[in-house]
């Protein structure tokens, strides 16, 4: 009987597991996003969560610290990234790698995968040496590449783009799994193929190697490990009691040399292994958990613990309610472009989908007193490109539109409309390049809303001579694709 109850107790989630699940749910409280296929766009996203959680996940309610860091470094030419550095400094000093052990959703996924009953690869000298590779990833992909491309004003979050499995799993797979995002499949290409293969490889490794991504690849863990000697929270060894028997190190599945070093994720699994009960979990001078403190702690301690759990549940419930409540709708009155000079089928409804008449709009143009009005372009094909200075793929494809404009600007109208979310001086950005293409600003976001209101950039709309939309999709554009679209819309392009 005792044996059976012991086995059942082993199957129950530990306190650490409950905290991990709680953190994962708190970071991804926007549950309606999984149903609607849209991401949360509320003000809470200005806050970075401590763990690795992609902000393109439909459920994400906060920003990813690693993604925010790379984007901040990419914009460091305009402003020093004080905010992100400050956040990471605070998390590192207060929590350190306790974040990895308790507050990282991707760490939780790795641990759950490792539970699958297969033969396991134990840590050894090879894995210990390999654990330094994450610092190479940090230096090259998180710092070096974004900084170099910041000089060119091209935002490039290199780790997110080429490696991050959390983005592929929580962002791409979660979005693509929703039928509402069926059109998004057209955006997939080589980049997704590579990232998906890498994701599968990492997940496979996690089944056989404990926290393989954490140990060998995670740059966020590398950042927090820099605070290993300073962090307030974590496991501590009492030197007076420690006999240096090494059981804690042998028992630990991370590549530690000693408890509390830069590889320690402060999970606390070593607390019960120490024969001298020399290890405890502390926050500053306060002992949060120690093998010497009886589990059934009487009175005050139990009340404090209950109060903490109640506060946590209230916080979670409040977050769930705040981020999932209905927002007042922002309807956009769509008016058709003025058709007085062009014959058009007025039975075609106005809208943003292919085959509908494009809604008219007027936007101010950079460097010109004359605004751009869609209706004035009737009679010729029009290309509208929605972009932003903080969007890397947008900046990469601007030369293609500029090239078309230079070759056929007299017979095709092209306008690049910047998102209403302006973070840099767009005029100063444009001054660095020799674009002939006209650039405009969607001052209040109504233009992009009238063309579908997507939360993804870049977005390209091609309108034929009669004002009917022939293409409206998000995703990067290549020169060949743009030419093919214009040919399909009936435009005549001169040879290069």
């Amino acid at each position: 009987m005792a044996d059976i109850s012991g086995r059942i107790r082993k199957l129950l989630p530990t306190r650490r597991r409950l905290i991990q699940l709680y953190a994962a749910l708190l970071y991804n409280a926007h549950l309606r996003g999984f149903i609607s296929g849209n991401i949360y766009t509320g003000p809470a996203k200005a806050l970075c969560v401590p763990g690795l959680n992609c902000y393109s996940c439909p459920g994400a309610t906060g920003a990813c610290p690693l993604g925010a860091l790379q984007n901040a470094l990419a914009s460091s030419g305009n402003r020093f990234p004080f905010y992100v550095f400050g956040i990471l400094l605070l998390y590192g000093l207060i929590l350190g790698r306790t974040v990895c052990g308790f507050l990282c959703p991707f760490g939780l996924i790795q641990e759950l995968l490792h539970k699958i009953p297969t033969p396991k690869i134990r840590k050894n000298r090879f894995t210990r040496i390999l654990s330094w590779f994450k610092y190479v990833i940090l230096a090259v992909f998180v710092f070096c590449i974004p900084l170099w491309y910041a000089v060119k004003s091209l935002p490039l979050p290199a780790f997110c783009k080429y490696i991050c499995p959390a983005g592929t799993l929580e962002g791409a797979v979660a979005l693509l799994a929703n039928p509402a995002n069926a059109d998004t499949f057209s955006m997939l290409g080589l980049l997704f193929t590579r990232k998906f293969v890498l994701l599968m490889l990492i997940l496979l490794l996690c089944v056989f190697l404990y926290r393989a991504f954490c140990r060998f690849l995670c740059p966020l863990g590398a950042i927090y490990s820099l605070f290993s000697r300073l962090a307030l929270t974590g496991v501590r060894v009492e030197p007076a009691r420690c006999t240096d028997c090494g059981r804690c190190v042998s028992h630990c599945q991370m590549d530690i040399r000693r408890v509390g070093d830069h590889e320690c994720i402060h999970c606390g699994e070593c607390l019960d292994v120490c024969p001298e009960k020399a290890i405890s979990f502390k926050a500053g001078r306060i002992t949060l958990h120690s093998p010497e403190i009886p589990q059934a702690a009487p009175g005050r301690k139990r009340h404090v613990e209950a109060a903490v759990w109640i506060c946590a549940i209230v916080l979670l419930a409040a977050s769930l309610w705040l981020v999932n409540r209905d927002k007042p709708g922002s309807g956009t009155d769509l008016t058709a472009a003025d058709m007085s000079t062009v014959s058009v089928d007025e039975s075609i409804p106005v809208g943003w989908e292919k085959g509908m008449r494009a809604p008219d709009f007027t936007v101010p143009v950079y460097g010109s007193d004359t605004p751009f009005t869609l209706s004035s372009c009737l009679g010729q094909c029009t290309v509208i490109n929605f972009w932003a200075t903080w969007c890397g793929p947008c900046c990469e494809e601007l030369p293609y539109f500029d090239d078309i404009y230079r070759r056929a600007g007299d017979r095709i109208s092209i306008i690049a409309v910047h998102s209403s979310l302006v973070t840099d001086d767009v005029g100063a950005f444009l001054a660095r390049y020799d674009f002939a293409l006209p650039f405009a600003l969607d001052t209040d976001g109504s233009v992009i809303a009238s063309f579908g209101g997507s939360t993804m950039l870049p977005q390209t709309v091609v309108v034929d001579a009669s004002g009917v939309i022939v293409y409206n999709a998000v995703g990067s554009m290549s020169a060949e694709k743009l030419e093919a679209l214009l040919t399909e819309a009936g435009a005549e392009l001169p040879a290069e």
Partner: protein, 255 residues
């Protein structure tokens, strides 16, 4: 039961590899089929129908895997617990053996000297490997090409050899150190026991309550708060919000 449990574990391992490898393979196949010579710039490489068709073909494999994992968990839960003894590391064994001696014999000192030489040599090798890597990374001209695929490809080609060599040097040094420590352990065990000395535990990974460290910590904490305030004032917080409320298509592989 134990043999059955191990066989089941190996079967689960193979099936896990198949369940994760096959979707990746199918993804590659879809990409290759979609981007072959017959496709036009307007052809979608991936479509929802094509992807789900491939996934449907893998469905029996996946359902079988779920069943297998459930069975494996049940067998694991019912099997008697035989925790394998976890061996101590060579460093720990040496430290424990050393603790029982007051003076180390010449052979043991020679091994310690050899380990220091190995560490120095490995350090030099790693430094030598890091020089060309750093030289490549710190040269801005390598990161000016707008073709990012080309830039990344060249970077991997140039960085991989020195990084691999550095890690190989570190691993070799670690192996040699382990052998040296094992030799020293054997030497010390063969000799008669000396006077026991109190074991001095190695310093823990934490800096403890030293007043200087506390001051440094408080300074960094205040700096963190100040940085956040400055970041809010200079628009850094807004930058984070703007980027987070738009789907970063390239971050999630859509592109």
């Amino acid at each position: 039961m134990r043999v059955f449990s191990r066989l089941l574990a190996w079967l689960t391992a193979v099936w896990t590899a198949a369940v994760l490898f096959l979707p990746a393979w199918q993804c590659v196949q879809i990409y290759r089929a979609g981007s072959d010579a017959g496709s036009t710039p307007l052809t979608d490489i991936f479509t929802r129908d094509a992807v789900f068709q491939k996934l449907e073909s893998l469905a029996p494999l996946f359902y079988g895997y779920v069943l297998l994992v459930i069975i494996a968990f049940a067998v694991q839960a019912l099997s008697p617990d035989h925790p394998r003894p976890v061996p101590l590391t060579a460093e720990n064994r040496l430290r424990l053996v050393n603790a029982q001696r007051k003076d180390l014999p010449q052979e043991a000192l020679k091994e310690e000297k050899q380990r220091r030489v190995i560490c120095a040599a490995a350090g030099a090798a790693i430094f030598a490997c890091s020089v060309p890597a750093c030289a490549y990374l710190l040269n801005r001209l390598h990161f000016t090409d707008p073709d990012l695929e080309q830039v990344m490809g060249q970077m991997v080609l140039h960085l991989m050899p020195p990084v691999v060599c550095a890690f190989a040097a570190a691993f070799l040094a670690s192996l040699l150190r382990k052998r040296s420590m094992e030799r020293e352990c054997a030497i010390l065990r063969d000799l008669p026991a000396g006077t026991a000395v109190p074991v001095l535990p190695e310093k823990t990974g934490h800096a403890g309550q030293s007043p200087l460290v506390s001051i440094f910590r408080i300074t960094l904490l205040l700096m963190g708060v100040l940085f956040i305030v400055l970041g809010v004032m200079n628009g850094g917080m807004r930058d984070v919000l703007v980027k987070a409320i738009q789907i970063c298509t390239e971050c999630i592989g859509l592109g």
